[in-house]
């Protein structure tokens, strides 16, 4: 298991330069072989992947079909309320068993030959198993218990459902995997019962890791997204910081609204031609804070496939679903709190204008990651150059650094067992 991943990749001298700054070879965004290896070493490796909010399957027999990496999976509650997850592929001839995105059922029957399963994924029925009039049928040795839907390990934290392909001995307990700072932020956001507001689905024609970088990137915030600056609202000098877990794979970006403005640092970039316009309807941003800590922005990226955000009053989980080396789907699931008053609910719904694929703050992200994918079609040996805030992926008390991106790549390289040219 400790062999370098792919000899034809690893023997390339230039593959992953060991340099003072982080330089990511563009090949990791374009090579289908690397995408395949990621499915094994990351999505089916010793990691916990997000599958659902418990609020999406609130009652016994509820289910949701989704993806873990590029594998179709179903997360269910059995009749006792126990959460289960299994690969959505019939044990007989490989057909997709569950063909609804969500619903309520305690039996799942493959339409092809009507093999049926319970909510835990156990095989419960095989038509004509004994044949007809002594003819046909399965061999007498056929053992129903040996043919079930492949199960996933499931764990929950604060109403978030995670799953893993890894054996129990190979993956840390979920809380350890998340780490104390991630858990503390989930405690903060999911400390009250939530209520679903709905989903948005965004297709990005880009490798999933470009979005992982984007959500760990505090540097781009005030440069690419100009909504706040254009309307004379707070932005770049808000205080903020970046935190990573011990392994460096998760990232927590936070910003606290500050009243001071410091234009000297920005040298007259277009970002800071502030106050040219003002909102005709400021109710868009008028929501009352949900938290007393002053944090107005939280972008929590949990490796490998989840982002949790709080942007003013907007709350959502974003589920990253890699589809191929150059395409991913991002499912945004918005929520509020079950005890929201009508005013709070109204603020959350209005602020949907700010976030998501059509969000006035965030719409540029889908395009930014595609701009990279389009430009790196060739020259897999060429690399990015990531060094803002220094080489080391250490916690930062500012938002002009790339530390979480650096630490993401350090972890990724370890998880993928990529050799570096200097080692």
């Amino acid at each position: 298991m400790n062999a370098p991943m792919n000899p034809s990749l690893d023997k390339r001298q230039a593959f992953w330069p060991q340099t003072e700054q982080m330089q990511v070879p563009y090949q990791v965004f374009t090579d289908p072989r690397i995408f395949d290896s990621e499915q094994e070493r990351i999505f089916r490796g010793p990691h916990w992947s997000f599958l659902a909010l418990e609020a999406e399957i609130p009652e016994p027999k509820n289910f949701k079909s989704t993806y873990l990496g590029d594998t179709p999976v179903v997360v269910t509650r059995d009749r006792n309320g126990q959460i289960c997850a299994w690969v959505n592929r019939c044990a007989h001839r490989g057909a997709m068993v569950c063909r609804d995105r969500r619903g309520k059922a305690d039996a799942f029957t493959c339409v092809y030959h009507q093999w049926s399963y319970d909510a835990q994924g156990n095989l419960t029925g095989v038509p004509f198993r004994r044949g007809v009039s002594g003819q046909g049928g399965m061999p007498a040795s056929f053992d129903m218990k040996a043919h079930r839907l492949p199960p996933l390990r499931v764990a929950t934290y604060r109403g978030l459902v995670f799953a893993s392909f890894a054996a129990e001995a190979d993956v840390e307990p979920l809380e350890t995997y998340l780490g104390t700072e991630v858990c503390a932020m989930l405690d903060r956001i999911f400390g009250r019962p939530i209520e679903l507001l709905g989903d948005e689905r965004q297709v990005m024609h880009a490798n999933w890791k470009l979005y992982s970088e984007n959500t760990r990137d505090a540097y781009h915030g005030s440069l690419l997204h100009l909504f706040h600056a254009t309307f004379g609202l707070y932005r770049s000098t808000q205080t903020g910081g970046c935190r990573m877990d011990e392994q460096g794979r998760h990232s927590l970006l936070t910003a606290t609204k500050a009243e001071t403005k410091d234009q000297s640092a920005t040298g007259g970039l277009r970002t800071y031609q502030e106050g040219q316009y003002s909102l005709e309807d400021p109710s868009l941003l008028a929501g009352k804070p949900d938290f007393s800590d002053g944090k107005s922005l939280v972008i929590l990226a949990i490796f490998p496939n989840l982002v949790v955000h709080q942007i003013a009053n907007s709350l959502a989980v974003r589920h990253i679903q890699p589809r191929s080396v150059d395409e991913m789907e991002l499912v945004w699931t918005y929520f509020g709190y079950a005890d929201d008053d009508p005013e709070a609910r109204d603020s959350r719904l209005k602020q949907m204008n700010l976030v998501g694929p059509g969000g006035l703050i965030s719409m540029e992200d889908g395009e930014a990651v595609e701009l990279v994918q389009q430009a790196i079609a060739r020259d897999g040996d060429a690399t990015s150059y990531i060094a803002m805030g220094g080489r080391k992926g250490e916690p930062q008390e500012n938002l002009v650094n790339e530390a979480p991106i650096i630490s993401f790549w350090e972890y990724y390289r370890r998880a993928m067992r990529f050799a570096s040219s200097a080692s």
């Binding site: 995105r101 679903l196 507001l197 709905g198 989903d199 948005e200 689905r201 965004q202 297709v203 990005m204 024609h205 690419l224 100009l226 909504f227 600056a229 254009t230 309307f231 040219q276 316009y277 909102l279 005709e280 309807d281 868009l284 789907e329 918005y334 719904l349 209005k350 949907m352 204008n353 998501g356 694929p357 059509g358 006035l360 719409m363 540029e364 992200d365 889908g366 395009e367 595609e370």
Partner: protein, 182 residues
């Protein structure tokens, strides 16, 4: 080219201005006027005259773009939501001056216009739409959105306007980003 700052329906403006009672308008005439409003609205967006877009609504007009997935679950999350024309104008200012996106064109195809319930002051109209999006740099259109709009039109002194427009998209996946209204 029809600009909504002028009366939309010059031929009938006088009759529409003075009749004041939609329940007495003949169905063919109402169908014609409602269809004209829809087509002028779509042309405004397709021609990149976004500044004119809010003018198709009454001042308290509501605009909502929601996926069929959320609508059928009776969940309120929208891809775009404007409550009143001020929010619409804010979105246009943001698109023109703050947001960064590739130059792109929509082409609306509107069909199956169906006149529904009406009162003296308002009429429900539904229609199917298909919108292609062409990125100027790439050149190929994609089917960007397809679905049904359910609208409530009211009579103003400038003719029919949207009091509410709820666009329900069959496609629940948005490719790359959503810039323009539908």
């Amino acid at each position: 080219m029809i600009a909504p700052t002028q009366p939309l329906f010059t031929a009938n403006a006088r009759a529409w201005n003075y009749a004041g009672d939609l329940s007495t308008v003949s169905l063919p005439e109402l169908f014609f006027e409602a269809t004209q409003l829809m087509l002028a609205y779509c042309a405004c967006i397709d021609d990149d005259r976004l500044e004119d877009w809010p003018g198709f609504f009454s001042p308290d007009g509501q605009y909502e773009l929601i996926t069929r997935e959320n609508a059928e679950r009776k969940l309120p999350a929208t891809a775009m939501r404007c409550e009143g024309t001020a929010m619409m104008r804010d979105r246009v200012v943001s698109l023109r001056h703050a947001n960064v996106y590739a130059k792109q064109y929509y082409r609306h195809i509107v069909t199956d216009v169906l006149i529904g319930d009406r009162s003296q002051t308002s009429v429900s109209v539904s229609s199917n739409y298909l919108v292609t999006r062409t990125l100027a740099m790439e050149g190929d259109p994609i089917v960007f959105s397809v679905g049904r709009a359910t609208d409530t039109l009211v009579l103003t002194d400038q003719g029919l306007r949207f009091r509410s427009r709820r666009v329900i998209a069959d496609n629940d996946r948005i490719h790359t980003l959503l810039v323009l209204p539908i």
